[in-house]
Subunit: 445 residues, 2 copies
């Protein structure tokens, strides 16, 4: 069983509910929507990501013989349910925000329409995929905006992501949010994302001295020379780089960059820049890493640090200041009847929905959430991506998604682009939707 | 390529460093140690987890033809490196803290001894595995201690874990830390962890009314009846449970529990308890979920809430108040020479190390970190688990690990068991280790 593709990567209650649906022949069409309930204190907007992984999952989701024989062996389920699962294929419709779309609380990110058991079974994994990729795309967007196009950004987070798939998803989500690439090798063969990396401190420590380590590295990787200079003393390291450059010049090898991974990066960055410039190495870039996030990036630029690139790791890939969003995948219609829940603090809006966004010039000015059958001024944000289980278009190239995402940043009101909490962006509920809710609530017991 | 087992789930710098090591014939034995640099504000101790996954990874780690042909196609590496990778097998020694061991900053959790390129290549994935599983075991330990044995704890977090593997790892790590089970189905066939779950709000909403939903569910899952009662109104829901119980009694079906997922859980829990008791359902347990963590658990018990079980999800599985630990995997010896780095704020202790723990009665009183060749009073914490690439023993049953972990909690000084920050537990550096560091530093350029 491969947990990345297994339909058993789900909550048990999906299966116990299915037992009920199958027994009571509840096969009518249901609509579920995924949305985020509220905006965390440390965010002003969200960036959608993960749709491609969801579509792949829906296309491929089926129970293997091994999985079926496990389910059978548990004795929990009737033969009718096992029969249903054996034949399970997702045959529903999917509407969603294209990846890279900016969105706000209560706006549906993905909407599934399918017979109730089908739409129910896929819940856990859909949330698992969309939540994390959107979490990271949103954090990466903040890093991108903080860098203001003055430096390249590389995802360095694999080692501290929460497991393997998070490493992959983080590489992808940060890339579509504007990053230049990742250190995670497997992201290149799997997604075609550019990869970057040169050396760790161990490479330096294992050799006689820093200079020998630098030379050995450059001779072995002549096209990719970034030298890590903080193992013993950053400024001495920079001087050693100048000496090394002379030696390498005779062999026609160029040093691309130095990397600093500790200490006061603004202060050291300036001093290193001077040492390099004085040594005739003004073409050598300065790359920094170590506990970076959007605030550190802004801070370094405010201090005038001459930095050309950032390796952003742990705090990006764990979205450390907001490690989860309060999101849900909720039933909004069953058998043609709009549905909602009233649970305290977690009430939902009934019925399938659409979001219309209006602009003033190039900048977004207001969103309105309304019923799917309604039309408002502005651009509808949700588009159809799957019909009766078939994709309507192939995967979008990542470069295209990135281009779209970065364009989306340009449509944000200036306040929302900043790192501090801004006045919330206006998202209205339409009269039609408000009336529908009232009508549904009145009918409840 | 399966990212869960692929050796390409690594940082590019591992491969560029290997190019250097291979070119310069640096095959001598190296020692690397994984440790956590410091104690987060919101933790008093760590619980080790993930060793079993690391040992499996080390046993199985090899490059497939597909992976080799990708590496070849990049043009980044020489034929000698490709040849090395084609034949790669981990043949080193592994010493580690047994899973479930309590540990503190700077104490090695795992120590790898192998030829330099081997020990280097596996770095990223070893950190990725041990960091996350220990992160979750540590958070789960706090939940377990807060519950004081008065309630069962179930992992509910899959939907908001960071990707698929985090869901799996969280189920495993929380189980060995004392949880009763998880909602994540695949954890049962893969790990043998007990799974739990019944229904979501959608199950209620899709049916004519709550009572019909309860009855339909119970008829379909007669051995597993936990009813979710907060979809519309928690107290009315509890009354409906009493009515449903009468109906089900005739069919000899018993209701095990009700679940509350919103609102003031202490207040509602008490009222629900009264309604159930008055309705003759004093055997029906109350299970709660919704944004729980160790503080909420303590708070609910302090308020006298009559709660029998907790579904702990998002905040556990993202370790929300401390979503990462500042950890590292560092070279401590190469070719028989002890090594260290001096980087500001990230300096390391040289040489292979052991930790000795002394006890006063049953309670731990002091740890001392010393060189591996040294012996101190107390119990040595690191044990050997792998020799020349072969495991010395099979996987430990999870029940056995859990038993050991819970026993470990009993050895914690009382202060450290609490949720608030305590005075740090005393961890000393031995004179031998301090001398070694001085000696190594003196030799540095």
């Amino acid at each position: 069983m491969n947990p990345l593709t297994s339909p058993l990567l789900t909550d048990l209650y999906q299966l116990t509910m299915l037992q009920g649906y199958i027994d009571h022949e509840m096969h009518e069409e249901a609509v579920f929507e995924f949305f985020i309930r509220n905006m965390p204190e440390s965010r002003n907007f969200f960036v959608s990501a993960g749709l491609e992984s969801v579509l792949e999952f829906l296309e491929e989701c089926r129970f293997s013989d091994e999985e079926m024989s496990y389910l059978d062996s548990t004795g929990r389920f009737t033969e009718s349910l096992l029969q249903y699962l054996r034949q399970f294929r997702f045959k529903g419709d999917v509407h969603a925000l294209p990846e890279g779309t900016i969105f706000f609380p209560n706006e549906p990110v993905i909407r599934i329409r399918a017979p109730l058991p089908e739409a129910q079974l896929i819940e856990s994994r859909i949330i698992n995929i969309i939540h994390y990729q959107s979490l990271i795309a949103t954090k990466a967007a903040r890093c991108y905006l903080a860098a203001e196009g003055k430096a390249s950004l590389i995802d360095f987070g694999l080692r501290r992501t929460h497991g393997a798939e998070a490493g992959l998803f983080a590489a992808r989500a940060s890339y579509i949010a504007g990053f230049t690439g990742t250190a995670t090798v497997i992201a290149e063969p799997l997604y075609g994302i550019p990869i970057f990396g040169t050396m760790a401190h161990s490479f330096i420590e294992a050799q006689k001295n820093e200079k020998e380590a630098f030379i050995n590295f450059a001779l072995s990787n002549p096209g990719n020379v970034t030298l890590l200079i903080d193992t013993y003393d950053t400024l001495k390291g920079a001087e050693t780089v100048v000496e090394t450059a002379e030696f390498l010049k005779k062999r026609e090898i160029t040093i691309n960059a130095v990397r600093l991974d500790s200490g006061d990066l603004a202060e050291l960055g300036k001093k290193v820049r001077t040492i390099l410039d004085d040594g005739g190495l003004s073409d050598v870039n300065i790359f920094v890493s170590g506990n970076l996030d959007e605030f550190m990036i802004r801070d370094l630029f405010e201090k005038g640090a001459p930095i050309d690139g950032f390796g952003v790791g742990t705090r990006l890939d764990t979205s450390a200041d907001s490690p989860y969003f309060d999101c849900a995948y909720k039933l909004t219609e069953y058998g043609g009847e709009p549905k909602l829940k009233k649970s305290e603090g977690k009430a939902t809006w009934p019925g399938p929905k659409q979001v219309f966004r209006t602009y003033e010039g190039a900048v977004m000015s207001k969103d309105i959430i309304t019923t799917d059958s309604d039309t408002k001024d502005g651009t509808p944000l949700l588009r159809q991506f799957m019909k009766r289980g078939k994709r309507l278009e192939g995967p979008r190239p990542l470069e295209e998604i990135k281009h779209y995402t970065v364009h989306e940043y340009g449509t944000l009101p200036l306040d929302l682009r900043g790192l501090e909490k801004s006045v919330p962006y206006p998202v209205e509920i339409s009269d039609e939707l408000a009336k529908l809710r009232k009508k549904v609530e009145e009918k409840l017991p």
